[in-house]
């Protein structure tokens, strides 16, 4: 059973607590895993403060009252992490989104953009798709594997890199999350190893 994913909804156009989108997200991902912020600054603080969790952010584009815009929140998140999936939910026509904002969203891997007037089932389908991808990602699989170990095992030396550095489970996870060279190397090797193991299997008769 993979570790739960937090669904962080930063949107001021939803009815707090009872909006059908929130209710149904709760049904799908567990009520306790859906967190709604109407204030974009508070939402951003939460995301930045909980980067150790798997997270999907449903983000509004326009916030009034002098808060950060959705695009700014997205930029801030991306400054620190590229592993949080962000789905933009906007009430504006897509044609109204500025080109440079769209370029920024694409270049920094926004997961999807959806209209707030779309069926909520579509929005939930996007979140589920993101969750599936999140769970299938190497760092997530690895995390799921690591959390099954005791804390003292997690920090114990596990492997030695070419440069002589010693890595524990936690170090490996960290280096993958930060997408450092060693982390990327490890990720690639792990996938290669998995494929090799598959290929060694005898075909089923």
């Amino acid at each position: 059973m993979p570790a739960p994913i937090k669904i962080v909804v930063i949107h001021d156009g939803l009815i707090p607590m009872v909006d059908p989108l929130l209710v149904m997200l709760g049904e799908n991902f567990g009520k306790e895993n859906v967190i709604h912020f109407e204030n974009s600054n508070e939402g951003l603080d939460y995301v930045l403060g909980n980067l150790n969790q798997k997270m999907i952010v449903l983000l509004d584009r326009n916030f009034s009252k002098g808060e950060k815009t959705g695009i700014q929140v997205f930029e801030e998140i991306r400054k620190t992490s590229s592993l949080v999936y962000v789905i933009l939910i906007t009430a504006d026509e897509f044609a109204k989104i500025k080109n440079e904002d769209l370029i920024l969203l694409i270049n920094h891997d926004a997961f999807a953009i959806q209209s707030v007037a779309a069926d909520y089932t579509k929005i939930i389908a996007l979140a589920e798709n993101a969750a599936h991808k999140l769970n299938a990602r190497v760092d997530s699989v690895l995390e799921d594997w690591i959390v099954r170990h005791k804390e003292e095992d997690r920090s114990r030396p596990l492997m030695k890199a070419k440069d002589g550095r010693i890595y524990s489970m936690n170090d490996i996870l960290e280096s993958i999350r930060q997408q450092s060279d060693i982390g990327k190397d490890f990720e690639r090797n792990l996938v290669n190893l998995a494929i090799e193991i598959f290929s060694r299997q005898k075909p089923l008769a």
């Binding site: 156009g13 939803l14 009815i15 009872v18 909006d19 059908p20 989108l21 209710v23 149904m24 326009n62 009034s64 009252k65 002098g66 009430a91 504006d92 209209s115 707030v116 007037a117 069926d119 909520y120 089932t121």
Partner: protein, 714 residues
Amino acid sequence: MGKIKKNANSLRWRFDVNTFRLLGRELITDRITAVFELVKNCYDANATEVVVYFNNVAPDKNIGPEIIISDNGVGMSFIDIRDKWMVVGTNSKRTKSYSPGPFNRKFVGEKGIGRFAVDKLGERVVIKTKELNDDKWLNVTINWDEYESLSKQQAKPQLSLFTDVDNLYNYTDANPNEHGTSLIISKVSEPWTSKDIERLYKELSRLTSPFYPLNPPFNIFISSNEYPEYHHKPVKPDPIKFYTYFKEVGIDETTGLQEVMRFDRHSGKIVTELTEIKSFGPVRLRIYYFNEAAKRRYNTLYKNDDTRIDGIKIYRDGIIATPFAEYEDDAGKKRDILGIDKRRWGSAFDKVSTREIIGVLDITKINNPKIIDSTNRQDFLDNPEYRKLKEFIIDQVDVFGDFKKYARDLIRTDVERDLLKAGQDVKSFTRTIEKIERDWFQDKPQFKQVLEPLKLQATSLSSVISQSINEQKKFQKDVIRKENVYLSLMSLQDYAANISHAIRTSLGKIKRMAEFFKINFPNAKFDALFKQYALLIYDEMNTLIKVTDFMLSYASSDIDFEDFSVKELLENLLLDAYRQTFAAEGIKVTVDIKDDFIINTNKKFFEDIFQNLVSNSIKALQRTADKIIKCSGYLDDEHFTLYFSDNGTGIDDDDAKWIFGLYNTRTSEQGGSGLGLYIVEKRIEALKGSVDLVQSEYKPGATFKITLPFNKDI
């Protein structure tokens, strides 16, 4: 610097093919800009004279077309050519801003792009160049077509960035006193018609200021062996003729203060006033204004080419600073760097557009150091000084707007006066005839018969004149009415952008709840939610109805005037209609109107005033914690006075007048279009009242004082 192999007579460049393509083929988009760039390079090379030769370039000629750009500048050494001319990214102009002494010219050439302009013109070039005291001319041959084929070979998956290119060179004898550079371009890519050269002439004529004597000079000539009108023709700015009004301001010699233009309503003239030197430094500005007739006359002179009257250009030390070479056939596509045409409903609001003025603003590198070229040299660096300079220019252009309005009103009042006088004359004529009839021909029916048709004619003439006066009045009313509708539509546009977002949000909520019913009903688990959603849908629908009602009020064709109570209207508007908006924004609203005041005007237009003030305040309050909007009012002996205040970011004293200008906004990031306060002022002026920014009631904050006279005659 990369190592360069020097063969007996070939010069090898390591050449970045991609940069070549990018700069040569994409940045220089048209031939006229290409020549313009090359001529600017001659200026940077301290030339006092440059000749652009067009030989055999006419469309029907196939033999040896050639473009030669020849200057008497400092020339280039072998090292210059080798290390600078072709090597992208080692542009000497990047580290230095001025040409070598004694000229010390501010560089005007683009960053190393000029040389690539050659490629736009033809496929082969010979550079003939020599520095003073060298005894030989250096001739280097560059074949662009060869580069092109090399670059094509390289468009393979494994991209190699650099290509080695050999270029032939040799030396020829020279007089040691000669110096300069000639670019002899052959295999010319496209034919040049006389019309093309005329366009080039027009662009080049703008390179130097028509007013600022360049010392040392920079004379440009165009020469063609085919078009007789271009036989070593000196390029000179067009003489400015037929303008309706001209005004020039500079620095007052006795006081050292900056002169500015102001329109004087009494004399109907633009006068000069003195003010402190502005933050951007002292400037000289000349503006020629053309009314419709003058424009037609001036354009006829140039075969109806309507791009000659083209707004304000800025020259630094006599050389164009902005807009830089900007060849554009269609005047509508020209960039509007100074923002003059941003106020594009020009004629409707007595604004003057760039198509009605020719202006020259002179700055100098010494006196205006804060006006700095931006990196792309297509504008200036955006800093407070440049912003003030733009505002200054627009303010001065607006002076001509006042003049234009005055001239229009003058014609109108002349017509009205003449009509009234004609009416009086006819009446007095009728009276005289009646008197003559009474006093002299009482008993002479034969004369009465003669007079009778005269009397009838006079009566009918009188009625025709009365009719004309009425028509004239109706027409004037119609003009005002149309202007009002136009203003109302403009404010509606602003409003529609906000409201459409709100409606979509609201519809989104309703739709999600309906969808929830569709998918889940019946399900005992969600019973409580079903009930809650029913109530929420009902509330949302009510909100939507209110919003659409408000929108519909604009759709009504009713723009009649009516009597209504200002107190009642303000209370309804601020306490009821806007209640939801204020609640959403967290704004506390106080309305304190002491006395009532009945006004006769169009209700919608009156509401516009407050709608715009409110939207202004909402933007100003975005960063305020405890948001307040307060509207108070009272009657005194002659006026009804209203104060509209908020405790937002406030407005600079310097901007007190500026903010009322069309498209003047400090909140463009928050979607401010600069329409709101303009509409507020115009609406209040239409009521013969006034609006001013006064000492703010809150600190920080802003307070507008609106004064409306008792006389309700509009």
